[in-house]
Structure formats: structure tokens, C-alpha cells
Amino acid sequence: MRWIHGGRVGRVSDVRSSGGAGVVLALERLNVTFESAHGAVRAVDDLSLTVGTGECLGVVGESGAGKSQAFLAALGLLAPNGRASGHARFGSVDLLTLRQPELDRIRGARIGMVFQDPMTSLTPHMRIGDQIAEPIIHHTGASSKEALRRALALLNRVHVTDAERRMRQYPHELSGGMRQRVMIAIALSCEPDLLIADEPTTALDVTIQAQILSLLAELKRSRGMSMVLITHDMSAVAGIADRVAVMRRGEVVEVATVGAVFKAPQHAYTRELLSAVRSVEVATGARVVALARDTPALELSDLRVNFKIRTSPFAKQQTVVAVDGVTLQLAAGEALGVVGESGSGKSTLARAALQLIRPQSGRVVWLGRQVDPMAQSALRPLRRDVQVIFQDPLASLDPRMTAAAIIAEPLRVHRPDLDRAGTEAAVIRALDLVRLNRELAERYPHELSGGQCQRVGIARAMVTQPQLLICDEPVSALDVTVQEQIVGLLADLAREAGLSIMFISHNLSVVRRLCDRILVLYLGRMMELAPAVSTYARPLHPYTQDLLESAPIPDPDVQPARLARALLGEPPSPLSPPSGCVYRTRCPHAAPICADRKPAWEAAEDGTRSVACHRWRELTL
């Protein structure tokens, strides 16, 4: 038994069979159904799975596969209209037969849970320390002083920096990654036998995702903790899981060791999931765009956007520089990727480029026409050519309008000449363009899946036949398989319609398939701008290199080592950016000069690319 607790030792874990010694949780013939207005819907169908001691089981599948519901059912956390049958054996007890108070003694104490959204899973009005201490007091009866002491130790263990101060802070004062660490600390607070993490990294940047996965891997290694990692992303489990269960429509289609699943997938669906995560690695971006061909689709020169904020009602107003001197040209027909972590100013850049917010200084030129945000009404006719797609597919659609009405909306403004039939025809063309079933046109956004909603969003943008499309993280809220479809769709549109695209993402590998050039932003400043091929082949800026390293790779042989090297730390507060080069606080290559002087924006490699780094000439990354 001892070697099992050692966790991943070579490939020992790969040979352990599922029914072997020391099973922590066994789901047997688990069924979950939901009562709905349209009859009973089966979410989980005759599911049997085991989690061994010290094992990490990855459960992978798209939204609606029932992967979360299976484990929520085991914990008695189903929605009120849900029913579960079968067995969920945890040690000697069957969780499904337990009553509420008995379950409460197990949940949180012996089974810890981490959910997707770290903001909504934390109570907004409680200090971090108290939130971690609460389950300790509740389950172990420790005194509050003792519980707080243990809470502090837990925060240190999940590598929360400045833990003493964090204890007294409220959830909204923490970044997403910090909150997720706090959630993990809470889950660990009572030394559980099993940790269930439900999409713990989906809401996070790739850099932070790598950190959180690395933390989970470390916990598994050091404590031999059993773990269930539920995710839609095959590459997320590659670095940490021992076995992987692939789920589709409530059923497990394949269970095998992580090596077997990635190297010799048996089921067609597993291969489909794998090809979705692998396709992003194949860069098609060899398109050479003649830059000076004709009028650029978008020109930004020395764009600067400030926000004035007050941290408390009595504090002095402070200025945050969200976008700091961005200059770029987007050629007609070109796809430009803008990449950076949260807080890098990439969404602000998009909004300023769209003239939805007013830049402090700098020029914005759409298709050769300089635009002025003060003259919104003069802008209106130009907006026909410049459209946008947003990150959250559901939130970007008016919940009270049908898909058809949403798509027809821009036509009301830009094509008042169209009659009802003409509008309808245009809507149908747009639906076909985004490959959305025409029958879905009369549905409301909440009746559509995330991918379908995003297609409606794209159809709305495309219905006026624009020349420039600005996409603000259009796929980061979607399943990996759907991401691949949407990126593919955008790539096709760009090619067929000669569309120029500005594609914003936190993940370098997502933009790889689509973009011709890539701009890397950090704290509002340009770090590197280069043709996509060169960015991936030979990054010049250390930050680009770190971003490349953070993106998970669906290869269980390489990924654990990559996780272990995960970029440390988080971006500093934009309220007080570091002096000199803003990246120096996280840069492994920082030298004294980096703190003294702001690096110049220098052309490199015959002017095909530019970089802002003091040391790019001497570094080989």
C-alpha cells in the first residue's frame, strides 16, 4: 500500500487497476434524472466509477455530459428537481442512503470540494480567514483561535502570498487565482480523504490555470490525496491525473490510465476530444499578408486609456493606465491576435478600438477614416463595417429577444430600407454562414447552448457584412471542442469574406490557428509583436515564452514537468506598476537595468517583428 501513497512514481500509477486495493469512492450504477416541464431528463446513465486511494481521476466531457451531476449527486447536492439512484460508496457508507445531518458530517470534512467560480463560491461579506476557519470549527470543534491559526497555515500551504494580510481581506479584494487557492484551502481545511475539483481552472487565465493545476499536483504528491478532477479540457488532466474517464451524455465511454487514453484512445469520442485540443497546435498561420496592400482595416497610434478609480469612498482618486501607448496597424484581411493575462488591458484596448470608451490620447482610424468618440452619432453609420464579438456568449445577447430578432437588430440601424422579407432573408443567410440550424432562430438565448449562443453573436456581427471584426475572448467561456469549432468558423469567415480580425485571448495556443500576427500585452504595454510563426518558433520576450509555457499540452509525458515549471506570481496591481520594465517583477531574466529604464520598442529580425525588452539580444529563450 505504501507505494500507492507515493502517487506518481514513474509510471507505476498507470498499471494500477481501478478495482485495486484502497478505493475511496465507488459510484455504482448511478443514475441521475431531472424532472422538467418536458418530462424526466436523464443526466447520468448507469455510471460506475471508482477513485482509488492516492489516485487522481480525471473526468472529462463536454457541458451536459453529466460529469458534474454524477459527483454532485454522490454528495447530495443535486438541484431540488434532481433524483439519484444507485450507490455511491465512500468507505463503508453509501452516500445516497444518508440523511442530511449525516451527509453534513462527511461533506467538507472528509470530502472537500472546489467549484468552478471562485467568486460565487465564497461568501462576499466574510473575511478570508473566517471563511477558512468556519469549517474547521464546525467539523473539528477547534477553538476559533486555533482554527484561525490553522487557516493561516493552510493559506501558506496553498502558496497564497502575504497570507497574514489575506486573512483579513474580503473575497472581492483577491484575484481569481487567489480566490481559487482560498477555495482549495477551505476544501483541505479538515484534511479530507477525497478532493473533488469541478472545473477548478476553467474561469482562470492560462498562467493561473497552470499554477492551480501545479498546486493540485503538488498536494497529491505530498499528501497522497485522492482527487477527482472534473474538466472539459483534456489537456488540463494530462499533467496531473493517473486515470481518465471520458464521459458523454451521462455515460462513461472510456476509462483508462492517462497514458493509454492519450496515446491509444479506444473510443471515437475520446479521439474527437483529443483532436480538439491538438488541433490548436497546428499553426495554419503561414498566410503572408501584404501589409501595405491597401488601406489598413484598423490603425491605432499611441493609444492611451486611463481609468480614474477610488479604492474606497474616502480614498483619493487614483489613475489606472489600462492601455499605455499601443500602436498597431491591422491590414485588410489580416488576423491579429492580442494576448495577455487578465489586467493586461486587452479588453480595454478592444473597447477603445471600438470607440465604446474614450481613449485619453492617441488616434483610432477605421478603414482609413479617423474616428472621434465625441461624435457618436457620426460614428453610427461607420459601425456597420466594424463589429464585435464578446466573451460571454449568453450575456452578450438580450435575454428577451429571440435569436432571429437579435441577429436582425443591426439591420434596423444600418439597413432601414429592408422590408420584413428582406430582413428575414438576411437573417437566414447569417444563420447559414455561422452554420446554425435555422430552426433555432425562434429560440431565446437561455434555450441555446454556449456554442450556439456564440454563433448567434457571430451572426449578429456578420449580418451587416463588416470588414473588421473585433473578438474579445470569444471562446474562453466555451468547451474545448466548441472552442475549436468557433475558431475554425472564424478562420473560414476570415478567408471567405476577406475579413480583418482582431482576436483577443489569454491563451496563446487558441490564437495560433487563426492569427497571422500576434501582439503580446502586459499591464497595458506592448511586449512583443511578431508574425505568428515566429512567435511560436522563437519568442523574443521572456513573457511570451512564459505564456507559451503555461498553455497546457495534451501529453501526459511532458505536461507534469511543464506544470512544475509554472510561471510564478500574478501580475502586479496596475495602480502601482513596477518601474522600468513592467514585467521585471516576474521575469526570470530581470537585470538591474530593467528596474531603471523603460525598454524601448525595438524592431527585430529585419523589421518583421518588434519587442520591448532590454535583454532580447542576449537571451535565448
Binding site: 457541458s63 453610427r380 450575456a395 438580450d398
Partner: protein
């Protein structure tokens, strides 16, 4: 559903009732002064001190109360929603100015305003009553709508509409206000009974509807004076008032649920 039926029944009773009864609202029956309900064959709910049929008068009272409730709510809705949504959506200095104006009106003792209005103009005239009551009611609606608009305006579909090139009024009326329908309807259905109550209160004070017309408030006022000798004079209009107000409150709850398209069907993962 039941509450909706009750409202419908009351409306029908208020409109048709007086026609079915042989008595007019102001006809005096000297043979039956202050008789109790069911004591005399043709006065179903009895008569008042002057021999006027209580059923007919209550039906009239319901009619007037309903009209006042609906019209003044409509007035306050139109003003309040437009005001609040405009302030919330435009924001900045406009917002501050518009909302301070609301605050100023709020801090005036509205009862005095109403009293002054009703004395300046003809006492008991219905249009004056509508305006007086509506002018008070829109303040709260404006505040609620502004708050909701502030949170809506940050949502991505509003940004999408702006990026599409929709003008500000178009965004207000096509995207913001329809999405506020839930809270607006819920608040309106609470406001209707409040308005009815407020009117009753004014009538009770003698500032509202004047004789020979009757509203529920003035009937309750009359009844209260005879409470010890003829309790039905108080209980009949009061009973109608309670049932009416409760029905509106229940309907409001149901409507705000039903008007939300997300409320239909089961939950989704």
C-alpha cells in the same frame, strides 16, 4: 390565477352590478334606512343612513378606486420608468442632477402637496386626484428603475447594441426597458393597491372623491362613523378593499415570474 379571477369578478361586479340592481348610486330609499345585509329583499348588502343601497355604492366605489389605482399607476410608471432609465443609462452629471431632483421631491411632505393641489383646484375632481397621486408615485419607480438600469447598462448585450450603432433612445426602449419589465410589473402591481389605499386615505380625510360619488375610502369613512350601530356599513367596503388589494398583490407576484422568459422550463446545466 385565483387572484386574477377575483379581480376580474370584482371588475365585472363593479361595472355590471349597479345595472343589475334597481337602485341608483344616489337614490334614497326612505323605507329602508340603515338596514343590515339580507334584511330586506332588494338591498343585498343593506343600506346606509340615508337609505342608499350599499352594494351599488360599493360597486361604484370599487370602480372609482380601480380607475384611480390604474390611471395614477400608469402615470407614475411612464414618468418613473423614463426618468429612471434615462438617468441610469446616461449616468454622470445628468444622472446626479436627475436623481437629486427626485430626492428633493421625496423630501417634501407629499400629503401637504396633495392637500394644496386639491384645495387649489376643484375639490374631488378626478383628474386632479390622478395627477396628485401619480406625482407622488413615480419617485420610487424612478429610483428602482435607475438602480436596475445601472446594473443592466454594464452587461455585454448593451455594449453589443452600442457597438452595433443603436442610438441611446433605441437602446433604452428596445433593450433596457424590456429587460426591466419583471421588476416594473412587480412594482406596478404593488403600486396599484398602494394608490388605491392612498386614495382611500385621501377620501377618508375628505380630500378625495366627494358626495354623491363614492370611493371605497369615503365609504369606509362613512361606515366608520356608524361602526357601533351598523357595522356592515364599514365591513362591506372594507372587505371589498382588502380582497381587491390582496388580489393585486398576488397577481403581481405571479406576473413577475411569468414575464421572465428564463423562468419557463427547467433549469439548465
Amino acid at each position: 390565477m385565483v387572484a386574477g379571477g377575483v379581480i376580474l369578478l370584482l371588475v365585472v361586479a363593479a361595472v355590471v352590478g349597479p345595472l343589475a340592481s334597481p337602485y341608483a348610486v344616489d337614490s334614497l330609499d326612505w323605507q329602508h334606512l340603515a338596514v343590515g345585509p339580507f334584511d330586506s329583499g332588494s338591498h343585498w348588502l343593506g343600506t346606509d343612513r340615508l337609505g342608499r343601497d350599499l352594494f351599488v355604492r360599493t360597486a361604484h366605489g370599487v370602480r372609482i378606486s380601480l380607475v384611480i389605482g390604474l390611471v395614477s399607476t400608469a402615470i407614475s410608471l411612464v414618468i418613473g420608468v423614463t426618468w429612471g432609465a434615462t438617468a441610469g443609462f446616461i449616468g454622470g452629471r445628468t444622472d446626479a442632477l436627475m436623481m437629486r431632483f427626485v430626492d428633493v421631491l421625496y423630501s417634501l411632505p407629499y400629503l401637504f402637496i396633495v392637500i394644496i393641489l386639491t384645495t387649489l383646484f376643484e375639490r374631488g375632481s378626478l383628474p386632479v386626484l390622478f395627477c396628485a397621486i401619480g406625482a407622488v408615485g413615480w419617485l420610487t419607480i424612478a429610483r428602482i428603475v435607475r438602480g436596475q438600469t445601472l446594473s443592466l447598462a454594464r452587461r455585454e448585450f448593451i455594449e453589443a447594441a452600442r457597438a452595433t450603432g443603436l442610438s441611446t433612445p433605441a437602446i433604452l426602449f428596445r433593450h433596457i426597458i424590456p429587460n426591466l419589465m419583471g421588476p416594473i410589473v412587480a412594482y406596478a402591481t404593488i403600486t396599484i393597491p398602494q394608490m388605491i389605499l392612498f386614495e382611500s386615505f385621501l377620501s377618508f380625510l375628505g380630500l378625495g372623491v366627494q358626495e354623491p360619488l363614492a370611493s371605497l375610502g369615503s365609504l369606509i369613512n362613512d361606515g366608520a362613523q356608524e361602526m357601533q350601530s351598523a357595522p356592515w356599513m364599514l365591513l362591506v367596503p372594507a372587505g371589498f378593499l382588502v380582497v381587491l388589494l390582496m388580489s393585486f398583490n398576488l397577481v403581481g407576484d405571479a406576473l413577475s415570474d411569468a414575464l421572465d422568459p428564463r423562468g419557463q422550463g427547467g433549469s439548465r446545466e
